[in-house]
Symmetry: C2
Subunit: 210 residues, 2 copies
């Protein structure tokens, strides 16, 4: 099993943290996203969508998309469970993970990709043809990050972790979103006490360094 | 169990088709998305994210996000399986479902929400505050729909259904995206023979009317 990875990027980091929590040691192949290696013909043969993380199984099958990869790893190594162990907790964890992605990650990505000179012609991930940045998405993204932080604080005021009282893939997702938001100067608002406490706890896990 | 639904909208349709394939009869509560009922205080008490579908369980727990709801229904009624029955097919189906969502659904939504007068101040779903439309997202969305159709044709040239030789949630997702693309005058390209054949088959299933 081989993971096409990019050390600095937030999406593959979700898989690395997930695997580290499970004690799985994946072979990594570094892909230089900043330099656009993922958009070159050689990588597009590996994944025509031009994205990492991509997991390559020993039989050659390749799977992309973070949560699909994580669910495969969860089946291989069910303990510790990070995606729930009964239908209701599984549904809540999946729902909240998507809240983190759709309301959090996509908002930060809108700010980052549409304001960074390096991405002026790469407004979407994985597209080899030019996708011009749209400056108006920066304001939309900043507003979205504000809503994301309010939602996260609301959740963490009620439970220890994002999707209940157990650490899960929803926390891994939220942690990577919060750190990604730091790239665009959108830190956790200082009044969000529950989020700040949670952030200290999840960042201190050794998996956070994976 | 109760499904907050909207008959005309593509996302709740995914859940309705999924439930119909399983012979599950969900109690429905219609929410008028076009009229903005989902953004009124009464509905925001039900789901602060302002979105349908939202599933309410008999114990009062509410779950949103299509795939989280579908996975819960899959656990309740495992036959016929629509999300795979072993780790590898599950991962492939989840990965391809996300391709349909991220590359297909989001592209069509970009065109629809940023070009329809009804949504001029509702550029994102579920947000009660104003989110101005961004006209440049229309071109980005149209280009994305083009890539989506190429990807879909590539998949369907190799297997009968979107994620293999069995009908799955990936087909349900793709069908709703293709029909949603019709709303913005982006039909299946006439040269895409495999997609056209697949579309006839999946649209003819009785679940497609759900």
């Amino acid at each position: 099993m081989k993971l096409y990875d990019c050390t600095v990027a937030p999406s593959p980091r979700r898989v690395r943290i997930f695997a580290a929590e499970k004690g799985l040691d994946l072979q990594k192949v570094e892909v230089d996203l900043i330099g656009g290696e993922n958009l070159q013909p050689e990588f597009l043969k590996i994944n025509p969508r031009g994205v990492v993380p991509t997991l390559e199984l020993d039989n050659g099958t390749r799977i992309d998309e973070v949560v699909a990869i994580c669910r495969y790893l969860e089946a291989l190594q069910p303990v510790p469970a990070l995606m729930g162990t009964d239908p209701l907790t599984q549904a809540v964890i999946e729902s909240r993970t998507r809240h983190m992605e759709l309301d959090g990650f996509l908002s930060v990505a809108n700010v980052f990709r549409n304001s960074s000179p390096d991405f002026a012609k790469r407004g979407l991930p994985g597209i080899a043809e030019e996708v011009p940045a749209i400056p108006a998405l920066v304001d939309r993204g900043v507003a979205g990050i504000g809503r994301f932080f309010r939602m996260l604080e609301e959740y963490l005021s009620k439970t220890t972790f994002v999707a209940g009282n157990d650490y899960s893939i929803a926390d891994i997702t939220a942690l990577t979103v919060v750190d990604f938001a730091g790239w665009v100067q959108q830190p956790i608002p200082s009044a969000n006490a529950a989020t700040r406490k949670w952030y200290e706890i999840v960042s201190a896990r050794s998996s956070a360094k994976a």
